[in-house]
């Protein structure tokens, strides 16, 4: 994935890039490299914003990743869709929260707690 203009990419390409970023984030977490993770996170958020502003809000395209083999990809796809498909997205997060051996389990569990206490209000 290079620094192409996001607005020039199709929805399918954006979804593919999202997967690449998710896998790279997982790798950074495994290396305990927070700086690299944060850079990748920021890039992913730009991509999600691009999908959001497409006609009809194309974030739902990421729901195809709800059974992706990588936990990080699934988690980020679910969090990206909380505002547009809360039920199925939360279900994915609840399943991931059971994986307490993984950093994704921790994040999913904390995000659910923040949803329930009103700290986190997805838009």
């Amino acid at each position: 994935m290079n620094n192409r203009l996001l607005s020039n990419l199709s929805v399918q390409q954006l979804v593919a890039d999202f997967v690449e970023l998710g896998v790279a984030q997982d790798d950074a977490l495994s290396d305990r490299d927070s700086r690299r993770y944060n850079r990748l996170f920021d890039r992913m958020q730009l991509l999600v914003q691009e999908l959001k502003q497409r006609p009809g809000d194309q974030r739902r395209a990421l729901m195809s990743l709800y059974d992706h083999p990588n936990l990080q990809v699934r988690l980020k796809a679910a969090k990206a869709n909380l505002a547009v498909a809360y039920g199925p997205s939360r279900k994915v997060m609840e399943e991931i929260a059971e994986c307490h051996w993984a950093p994704q389990g921790l994040e999913a569990g904390m995000s659910i707690h923040h949803l329930d206490t009103g700290i986190y209000k997805p838009t």
Partner: protein, 259 residues
């Protein structure tokens, strides 16, 4: 006793043959004690499990014996599928979803730690599915450098404990565990909280090292929950109680602390 040089060639050859016979007899005796059955069917050569016993009695639990020139498997009846440990020469493979552990120690500490953590995570998944921990520890004997991480791996498998237990255990340091501060020290100092509070009994717990790392990582990572900032950033300026609450919640979700 006559020296070898003084013996004739024929006598020498006879002695060599006799020694070979005695060695073979001793070997057979050992095999018989181990319930060896030469008629027990074996997996044909050329298959991944070539040379291994396929069933019947003898030799302990047949499926748990590692034999064969390649792809030797430690497969206990209680370990199946994704929890199979396979020795493939240069690497030990942990199931279909676990790491491939090099038998040679990685050149970097970071890589070694990463493998240790991935191994611990794989074991945690296996234990959740009912596999006895003892069988899983075979991997440590196959990749000897991993023994240096055994305490960390075993600690990762700890069940959650009460807050009092975690606090009390600070007085008994042990391998595989680290002191964790639910309210992060550096951030608390920056915001002017007193050292006596930061280093108090209330704020020190002894937790499994690998789980400690994951909690710390979460605090440092950007997060959608907080407007794309990290938990560490948004806690700045907040009260001790708010920081402690978040710190304890993270320990609960990481299954370090009982709810």
């Amino acid at each position: 006793m006559a020296s070898l040089r003084s013996l004739s060639t024929a006598t020498l050859l006879a002695k060599i043959a006799a020694t070979r016979f005695l060695l073979s007899a001793a070997r057979l005796e050992l095999l018989l004690k181990a319930n060896f059955n030469p008629n027990q069917p074996r997996v044909p050569r050329g298959s991944a499990d070539g040379g291994q016993w396929t069933g019947g009695s003898g030799g302990g639990t047949p499926s748990s014996r590692a034999t064969g020139p390649r792809g030797s498997s430690f497969r206990s009846p209680s370990i199946g599928g994704s929890h199979r440990i396979v020795d493939r020469g240069t690497h030990v493979h942990l199931g279909h979803d676990g790491p491939a552990i090099p038998k040679q120690q990685p050149s970097s500490i970071r890589q070694a730690n990463r493998i240790g953590v991935e191994t611990a995570k794989w074991m945690a998944r296996a234990v959740m599915r009912g596999t006895p921990v003892g069988r899983l520890l075979d991997v440590v004997d196959l990749a000897l450098w991993l023994r240096g991480h055994k305490a960390d791996i075993m600690a990762f498998l700890d069940p959650p404990r009460s807050l009092d237990e975690l606090r009390d255990r600070v007085q008994e340091p042990r391998e595989g565990y680290e002191v964790h501060h639910p309210v992060e020290q550096a951030a608390a100092r920056r915001d002017g909280f007193p050292e006596e509070l930061i280093r108090s009994y209330q704020n020190e717990t002894l937790v499994p090292r690998y789980r400690h790392w994951q909690v710390t990582g979460w605090f440092m990572s950007h997060n959608e929950d907080f407007g794309l900032r990290s938990p560490r950033e948004i806690l700045r300026g907040l009260s001790w109680e708010e920081r402690l609450d978040m710190g304890l919640q993270a320990m609960i979700k990481m299954k370090i602390l009982k709810p």
